[in-house]
């Protein structure tokens, strides 16, 4: 098993060395892709929600600052900015900041793509899978201005709420977060 993980890491690392790394993730991603990396993902417990299940998770009434990022393993700009969300999760964990990564990967790819990705990148933030085909219902419910492109991010605390249909740099993400941090 360890060898398998090692093999997978080599594949991932070799992709990263390529200058077209982030694009590679998405451009090779077509649905009939036959290449799938084998990783033991049985110990990853992935929670799967429809919108009714997700709704309470993105509308918590506690004192925490919640950062909710909508992403997918096939979305290159999403994958690029994931480390920034991981970084704020680590850096601000004592400031009551809670990061939730909501994956829009296709259900048939949970075991072959999403779970191996979570394992390979050692994601520390909470990751959930979101599967609800009635997008015309939940996209405007999450934010009236959302056209449906990802990445997209919500930052909220209590009733204060911001929605972003855009990519972030580490710096940009922290600037937005700090609006919520200051007393």
């Amino acid at each position: 098993m360890k060898q398998m993980v090692f093999l997978f890491l080599i594949v991932v690392l070799s992709c990263k060395n390529d200058t077209s790394g982030p694009q590679l993730v998405e451009s090779t991603e077509v649905l009939e892709s036959a290449k799938e990396v084998v990783v033991d993902v049985s110990d990853i417990n992935l929670e799967i929600y429809d919108y009714d299940g997700l709704e309470p998770l993105i509308n918590k009434k506690d004192d925490k600052i919640h950062v909710v990022n909508f992403w997918a393993t096939w979305c290159a700009p999403c994958v690029k900015e994931l480390p920034y969300f991981e970084a704020i999760n680590e850096k601000y964990k004592d400031d009551n900041v809670d990061v939730l990564l909501v994956s829009l990967d296709f259900p048939k790819n949970y075991d072959t793509k999403l779970k191996p990705f979570i394992e390979a990148h050692d994601l520390k933030s909470n990751v959930v899978a979101f599967d609800d085909t009635n997008q015309n219902r939940w996209i405007p419910a999450i934010n009236e201005s959302w056209s449906g492109a990802i990445p997209a991010t919500i930052i909220y605390k209590g009733n204060k709420r911001q929605f972003y249909e855009r990519s972030f740099t580490q710096e940009e993400l922290e600037i937005e977060l700090k609006q919520f941090l200051s007393p």
Binding site: F106, T133, Q135, S147
Partner: protein, 203 residues
């Protein structure tokens, strides 16, 4: 002289802010007149909406090779063209991504994809990425149904093809078909705008 300089600066600032407003605008809304274009097709020829003299309108779809959502809809887009091109509503597909960022969407890749899938509709390159911002497309796939009128091509529907990207068999509402059927019968379109997840257009 100084006044002239100042005036130039003021004019420049105004001009710039005007452009900023334009790029920040959200593109077309239902009822707006859509621009025509002249974009290169996979056969090397330029295609414009005005070339289709017999068309009653168009199913303009911003799509690409590399987005899983766009791929999931490829067969359904082809089916739309087969069903509606002869009735006066051909599919016009436009690939809006920056191909430096997404080499998998370059003209060669578009040709290969169209050949492999047997596309019967034009698959055009938005060279210089000038057309998609005018329409206000943000993602692939993103559909605009246009109706030809004396005033121009009026936007009649914006959004998704149907309500199930995963499974064509499980679709309960065929938004695009319902809209085109309504236009062909001269009836009001019931659902004029829908949302769906897609891949952000790469700039």
């Amino acid at each position: 002289m100084k006044t002239l300089k100042l005036l130039t600066v003021v004019v420049c600032v105004f001009a710039l802010s005007a452009f900023t407003v334009k790029t920040d605008s959200e593109g077309y809304k239902v009822g707006d007149i859509a621009t025509d274009f002249s974009l290169e097709n996979i056969d090397g020829k330029k295609v414009s909406l005005s070339d289709f003299s017999d068309a009653k309108g168009f199913i303009v779809t911003f799509t690409c090779n590399t987005c899983p959502y766009a791929v999931a809809y490829e067969d359904r887009v082809e089916a739309l063209n087969k069903k509606y091109a002869d009735k006066g509503y051909p599919v016009i597909a436009i690939m809006p991504n920056n191909t430096d960022v997404k080499p998998g969407d370059n003209m060669e890749a578009m040709k290969a994809r169209a050949k492999a899938k047997g596309f019967t509709f034009p698959y055009l390159m938005d060279e210089g990425q000038k057309i998609y911002p005018q329409y206000g497309a943000t993602k692939t796939p993103h559909i605009y149904i246009l109706k030809k009128t004396k005033k121009g091509n009026v936007v009649k529907y914006i959004g998704a093809i149907d309500d199930n990207y995963k499974d064509a068999e499980a679709v309960t509402e065929k938004y695009v078909e319902n809209a085109v059927d309504a236009l062909l019968k001269g009836k009001e379109i019931k659902v004029k705008e829908t949302r769906a997840i897609g891949c952000s257009i790469k700039v």
